[in-house]
């Protein structure tokens, strides 16, 4: 993957139309020769399994380093995100137009909750 390393690695996005358009405007969009995009527009007709497949596909690709996902979309496939423990690609939950960011839902931040249990305070 020497070429991919020289080119830099990608940021993928899964989210509603405006989020995708915004980040693609920011320049992260890529469509490779195999016609695999690094973005997915989720609308009200998108099924959970479609989102899940896309997320898993992004996890498997070795040219993606960060996956940005709207938190409300992340909620749909929470079990898959909770199971992803690898540092790369990093999954970052972001707010969307209608749903502000809620830290208590974030998979990674929730992991820290167990660290500060009453047990430690003794």
């Amino acid at each position: 993957m020497a070429i991919a390393a020289a080119k830099g690695r990608l940021i993928a996005v899964i989210g509603d139309e405006d989020t995708c358009v915004g980040f693609l405007l920011g320049g992260i969009g890529e469509m490779n020769k195999n016609r695999q995009p690094n973005f997915m527009v989720v609308d009200k007709n998108t099924s959970i399994s479609e989102v899940e497949d896309c997320f898993k596909r992004f996890l498997k690709r070795d040219d993606i380093d960060i996956i940005l996902i709207n938190q409300n979309v992340a909620e749909m496939i929470r079990h898959v995100i909770d199971n992803h423990n690898e540092p790369i690609p990093a999954v970052l939950e972001i707010p969307s137009k209608d749903h502000p960011y809620d830290a208590s839902k974030d998979s990674i931040l929730r992991r820290a909750k167990g660290m500060f249990s009453a047990e430690d305070a003794k």
Binding site: K7, G8, R9, L10, I11, E17, D18, T19, C20, V21, G22, F23, L24, L25, G26, G27, I28, G29, E30, M31, N32, K33, R35, P37, N38, V41, D65, I66, L68, P87, I88, A90, L92, I94, P95, K97, P100, Y101, A103, I108, L109, R111, A112, M115, F116, D120, K122
Partner: protein, 161 residues
Amino acid sequence: MSFSTLKPEDEHGQELAKVCVALDELTLKQVDLVDEQLVLMSKLGSLMTCGFIDMAKSRYISGEKTVSATQIPGEDSVIEAVTTVDRDSENKLTLSRNKEVNDPIRWFGLLVPGSLKQSQQAFQNVLNIAVEIVNIRREWVQSMSALEQQHKTLGSLKSST
């Protein structure tokens, strides 16, 4: 275990005190890193809101259909990413922009409203912050496993008394 029960002259006590100090430092670091993440996340949220508002403004100026996902080139064209991330030897990420690639703003027309450019600017800044958050997270996860390690040491020291 409270500090009052420690006897500094005792070797075991000294070790215990050392672990306690390390635990304190790591815990404080954890809290700081979580705080940094949350501050950056709220910044990211407000920047995204600015981006969405500017996007809506340019839709108002040049028509609703002009800024939508249908303007993104379809599967029959190859798009190259302008913004990518580079990873250094310590896995720290930095954002890099390739100036030779066509500006994606061209997908939305040749004469785009200024507000679309502002929206683009906002999302570029969001990307900077997102990379910053990912870097902090990496550091935070590392310190979390260090903290876990120290807790185990503390547990084994306690059980040996």
